[in-house]
Symmetry: none
Subunit: 421 residues, 2 copies
């Protein structure tokens, strides 16, 4: 069973919005075993909509459209669909009553434009939109299903969940799609591929492997399309278990696990506390941890000591060390971590000092040079990592590197203490 997703709107083609609707729709379809064959975005243009839809219908059994259903003149999806399916627009009284009530409760006039929201092509089944004024529409034509949904994300989402998916599951006999993703960290994509080449070679042919590299990790996804789900899910688990045996130290976890969620769990389980002392990462490390529910159990204090004076006054970094070693140096990173650990009275503190750019780089310390340090109960460790050239990239990668160093140090110092005892 194949589907095409068509998103409609000039704002997509000019790059004014990021299309998240098609992401949500793709997930719903995949979860139900429907393969998304293609995603397409076209403008608010009759010919483009018709062409895209006719092609989608020639290739797939299901087409989901979003967008172009607003009350204003630039939205033409509904009129276009009525013409394509040779029918008139007729008033749906349930929708009309709903729109009137909804607007009145918000103090919005029920004017001519809003009244148009309850006109629907006579050939469609109305999918009632409890959360907005534009109803969804379900068409069937020569064995094909065509669904048109409003572009407002949460209205689309409710309609997909409450109306479209139950109907698709009833209308078609669906098999399953299984995706499972393992997150690795610490091996570049090419080195990872080399290390697991024999494993990859031995995968059953119906399991498809994909590498998804990003700055601080490589995701490995195994997918199987239109299969018997339970057996395949079991097979994928078995394959990932084999991988654990090959590269145990590089595996972070499954699906959406992040390096900060790993450290979050480590700190929480061990009742350890944390402070951050950031310069070039500018609060990004603190923000990553504090975005996680429960962070207040271990996160005590963070500093963003951007100026030398702040590093000195707030964290006790010695001005003569800055003068002697530079503010981007092992000594300053160590002093920041140790100062933060001592002043916040925590078990661990992580620090960064570097050059985020675009200016400030030198031949010796180019943009992207970042010293990072972790201070813990068994001492302080510092490393320097080249973290990229672009400001956003430097902040992001250095944050990831520093949190990875923190994880490594928590585990290393735990081992050290075990040996001592």
């Amino acid at each position: 069973m194949k589907a095409t997703i068509i998103t409609i709107g000039d704002e997509i083609l000019i790059g004014q919005i990021v299309d998240t609707n098609s992401v949500a729709i793709a997930r719903y379809l995949n979860d139900a075993g429907i393969v998304v064959h293609e995603k397409e975005s076209v403008g608010d243009d009759r010919e483009a909509i018709v062409t895209a839809l006719q092609r989608a219908m020639s290739e797939c059994e299901v087409t989901i459209l979003t967008g172009g259903l607003g009350p204003t003149k630039d939205d033409i999806t509904k009129r276009t669909l009525a013409d394509l399916f040779n029918c008139e627009l007729v008033r749906d009284q349930r929708v009309a009553d709903h729109v009137r009530r909804m607007l009145e409760s918000r103090g919005i006039a029920y004017n001519e434009l809003n009244q148009g929201q309850s006109l629907v092509p006579a050939a469609c089944t109305v999918l009632f939109n409890a959360y907005g004024t534009a109803p969804g529409m379900w068409f069937e034509r020569d064995g094909h299903v065509i669904v048109s949904l409003p572009g407002v994300p949460f209205e689309m989402d409710h309609l997909m969940q409450d109306e479209v998916m139950p109907r698709l599951k009833k209308r078609f006999t669906l098999r399953q799609i299984v995706h499972r993703t393992l997150i690795t960290s610490g091996l570049a994509e090419s080195m990872l591929a080399e290390r697991i080449a024999a494993w990859e070679e031995a995968l059953p042919p119906y399991l498809h492997l994909a590498y998804l590299p990003s700055p601080d990790k490589v995701r490995l996804r195994l997918s199987a399309y239109e299969v018997e789900g339970a057996a395949v899910a079991h097979e994928i688990e078995a394959q990932f278990d084999k991988l654990y045996a090959i590269i145990p130290q590089y595996i972070l976890g499954y699906e959406t696990v992040t390096i900060q969620s790993v450290v979050h769990d480590l700190l929480t389980q061990r009742h350890l506390t944390l402070a951050t002392a950031e310069s070039c990462t500018g609060g990004a490390i603190a923000a990553r941890f504090t975005a996680l529910p429960g962070a207040s159990n271990y996160f005590k204090c963070g500093w963003v000591t951007y100026s030398v004076e702040a590093k000195h006054a707030q964290l006790g970094v010695r001005l003569e060390d800055v003068a002697r070693y530079d503010v981007v140096s092992e000594e300053v990173a160590r002093a920041m971590a140790e100062g933060a650990r001592q002043r916040a009275q925590v078990d661990y503190a992580v620090a960064t000092t570097g050059i985020a750019g675009p200016t400030g780089g030198t031949a010796e310390r180019p943009v992207g040079t970042v010293w990072m340090a972790v201070a813990g109960p068994c001492g302080t460790t510092a490393v320097c990592r080249q973290s990229g050239k672009d400001r956003g990239q430097v902040i992001d990668r250095a944050s990831g590197f520093a949190i990875t160093l923190l994880r490594d140090e928590i585990l290393r110092q735990e081992e050290l203490r075990k040996k001592k005892n």
Copy 2:
């Protein structure tokens, strides 16, 4: 001049990633006067790539592809392009040297897979990728230009800016596309449309109006395609000036300015300095400012005082005030802002204290309750804002509210001082 954007990767079709590359590419093309006719996403599948590309070439002069250029087996774009353009893969020595140097500097082995990154179709012009291992490729065929770019966003971005756009501008004679967006707030889409109906009706036919509603605003975009830019830009300004006369109280401003970029400019132009004292926003405010190049000119120090002890020890919040008024209170927000301003010796400090959730809410102070304060040379102002229910939403909205308060206070205190003098 028309273009198609094709993004390649199974991860797009299964909804594992949000496609931001096509947004960035669409902006570059629009800025240069190239109309994006369609965006399409296909899987890592030879037939799908070839079909999409051939169709794009039949409809448009320019096709930009991204993705599928990694070193691993699942990435097949390069091989597919070589076959489609009937040529061999040949080694590009400059790319080979660059890949080797880049990997060696990061301590990554230069193995067979990486060596494959310097193989390119003989028919292409290599677009040198200084930021990654996968080069861009430029093909010309029967008057069409086909460009293949890596899917890593910042590598794609640098290649679009430094290589693709200059070449497209040289290769084609381009007219202009003008988009200008006005942001309105406080009027529902249908009411807005009614209020400005006469204005909309009187627009010159070559100006296309679009409504882009979202929960807290409606954006109005005027677009003109393939025109003489200067005259049209002038006409659009004149049209928006007329709108100002019709709905002055509902207009917020233009385009995509963010509240932090507004404050960044205010602080920079006035040579003012800033500190942050965050609790529930957890470093997100500091991170928003420090993400902007030049932030070090005004951003001196930030605190993420998550625990009561940190608020007391680092910012001088009195424990008896916490006990008497609660840690989420006007008094604590004021003390945090004033403590940060004094300790960092800055002109302005902004503080937040609230309940980000999911736990910690009470009947009196439910999740989303955030007190925020700004301390400046003419005193301190505090407000309480309900900032949502979801943890991420609370952090994001409270950060925005706090930065808005900071802007209002900078302007208000500036007026106060002017009046005093």
